[in-house]
Chain length 499, copies 2
Amino acid sequence: MAANAKTAIQPTREADFPQWYQQVIKAADLAENSPVRGCMVIKPWGYTLWENMQRILDAEFKRTGHENAYFPLFIPKSYIEKEAKHVEGFAKECAVVTHSRLVSDGEGGLKPGSELEEPLIVRPTSETIIGEVYSNWVQSYRDLPILINQWANVVRWEMRTRMFLRTAEFLWQEGHTVHGTAQEAIEETLQMIRVYADFAENTMAMPVHVGEKTEGERFPGAVNTYSIEAMMQDGKALQAGTSHFLGQNFAKSSGIQFTSQEGVEEFAWTTSWGVSTRLVGGLIMTHSDDDGLVLPPKLAPKQIVIIPVIPNEDNRSSVLEYCEQLKRELEEHRYQDAPLKVQLDSRDMRGGEKAWHWVKKGVPVRLEVGPRDVAAGKVVLYRRDKGPKDKQFLERAEMLGTIVETLSSIQNALFEKASSYRTDQTREISDVGEFESFFKGEGAGFAVAYWAGDSTLEDELSKSHKTTVRCLLMDDFEEGQCVFTGKKTRKKAILAKAY
Amino acid sequence: MAANAKTAIQPTREADFPQWYQQVIKAADLAENSPVRGCMVIKPWGYTLWENMQRILDAEFKRTGHENAYFPLFIPKSYIEKEAKHVEGFAKECAVVTHSRLVSDGEGGLKPGSELEEPLIVRPTSETIIGEVYSNWVQSYRDLPILINQWANVVRWEMRTRMFLRTAEFLWQEGHTVHGTAQEAIEETLQMIRVYADFAENTMAMPVHVGEKTEGERFPGAVNTYSIEAMMQDGKALQAGTSHFLGQNFAKSSGIQFTSQEGVEEFAWTTSWGVSTRLVGGLIMTHSDDDGLVLPPKLAPKQIVIIPVIPNEDNRSSVLEYCEQLKRELEEHRYQDAPLKVQLDSRDMRGGEKAWHWVKKGVPVRLEVGPRDVAAGKVVLYRRDKGPKDKQFLERAEMLGTIVETLSSIQNALFEKASSYRTDQTREISDVGEFESFFKGEGAGFAVAYWAGDSTLEDELSKSHKTTVRCLLMDDFEEGQCVFTGKKTRKKAILAKAY
């Protein structure tokens, strides 16, 4: 768009990225802050994105041998206390249930009554309660592996919240598995981080780096944490999914023991892994533009919207009929093993307003049909990933014959665009000066650098440049020198400012 | 089975129905009590039943124009207080969050810290919080109707809990709709109770009565409550779903107001409706027998299990190959718009033990294949709805050609069996003596009687015979006399002992 063109979203990404993010959410009607501190209301358009993510992820979890189950919302305080690092990580921000009823306060109102013997924590994550349950399920090597996932809500009493990215309550899935050997548990951990990476790239069209977290960024109680890290359009990193190898830490604190094939009593090896509604925030910040939300066809609640353009009432019935027929024919086509999701918007509303409504909601393809198109058997096709004035005049049959290809092409184009943005904003760093100038002030992006630092160094960089080590890349590189310590290493880190 | 035959479940239904119920759940590995008081762990086999219910119900909700959304887990105390009857109904049993962190108790443990300004209630139901949110969404008649459903967990601090039927935390869906007229809201309320009735009968194979609740049994704050009532195999009623016409009660307490087409400011009319994991309990108690769980094919996690019978190792590969081929061919067939769900159980385990494993899990069809079947191109088919010794020797092609019909036939047979049980246990009651002898001692079943009683009478019957008015049937009957009061009425009630 021209530099001075008015955009549907104000401010623009460049002017104020955080504010732009809030406005995109509002304009697309995805979610809003609720009257309960830190909790959001996920509105239908936003919730459908999560449902679509759930459906695809759930199929992948099942394909890789997992089943779903459900464990309690509440965790007794004593369970949380069992794993020392874990409690340290979660005690500071958790919702504590202390009473089991409301009683009269004597002034016409109510107050908490019936104090519980032991306070209950609303789960911030379920390792401790699930570990306790698993300790009863596991007796022998024959009971292993346990491969279970749970779709659930969790609560972390965050002080600064931001819709989808960081909310007091959020929706997620948490996989919890138990294995007989370290090797098998590590393979599970790596398998699941790869499932997440595939999902991010192939479904969300969001390129990610897979890597290992440094000690300071590990899940509290984990031996290793792997994450996928995506780059948002402000150059900041978003941790979009994690998979933890928990070693025997939780097995020991929960007593998950089994008799091995050789008759030896051993502690089991566990993993956990999760993604959350934060992915919706990542989706928004990866693809959306200054006209609002942009959705990849694989996740869009509606992939195509048909807008009848009715200049005068004489044309109404013929245009509507044409559009309805078009909708039916489109719905006979399949994309990703499901019929196309098509919306016909015949509301009584100005055409421009209506078109912008769907632009802001991110629908991948918009078809406009006026009386002349009806007469000529044509449609006008707009792709949401292109500029708002970029349109194609197509024969109706041609459009129908290529629509699935068009959706694939949009899906791919979004991935390519995000990938090339990431490439542009990524710098191989070979000395401290380069690092400092890259992150100076508002500078952001991914710095890739040989890394052999420790937690102290990470703290320093966090203070001086607001950057953290997002992850250590999985590859072993040719030996080089750590940019900060000069030590020799084969490991490269991604450093970035992060959400 | 013969009177003295040993059953897989002990005790039998007749000997001790509540204990039988617990044992069926245990033997099928559906769920277990958790270490958290009143909360259950739903295990994969049980959770899959709920997932299957969700999938079918969700499609129905969408077909009838609803969308899903998500609202906060927590409700500020002041919101709960707004609707007088509502708070009375829920204040006595709710989980109250009073603190937002755990801090050191000075003795090496932790205690609640950071007291909240206002206590939060873990939602027992969401009318008040959703009403508050809706009050911001609704300004004009153009914003109506709002047709939203939420899948969520809720908490009611029940003192006596029972797996699936009554637990402190349970999973459910709650629909919350807003309308411009009473008429439209009433139609919505009735539409949804019919959706539940269709689901109960056509998917769960569980016959239900649709009716209206009396004042004493209404949802706290509702104008009318409609329910579906099913009969369990002990003759007791299970309320399996409810739909509430809330009038303007919650609109007034939450301030849901709109400007009508005529420019008048009016309060809106709301409804809510829900079913929960209690349905799983209903499913169990409707169909299961003294050998364990019996599942209708439309909901079974696996519809068919194939058991290779391998008397000696020489046969292993040919039998397994035959079974694997059978599985692939079965999976090419579709039932209810999805490929058949087939399990091949090739575990190393005694044949009898393995067969009983699947009997207890309620799989509708069991196929056994031994070397002689392989040689002859046959299979042995057992239907779970028939006696354990009732088997069919079938040509493989014949079995494949009729398997979908067989599943339909099982689905129908379960409904017929439950219906005829209900008919047998239902009595038209025409005087008080009949009523008293019907419910004397352990007597149970449905008493259908002309009813013109009030809450006082209901309380008396509840004390004297442990019976309640389950619902007033929807039909208007020929005028008759209330069995208890002698008043003339066209209404008949179902009276029963209930869960």
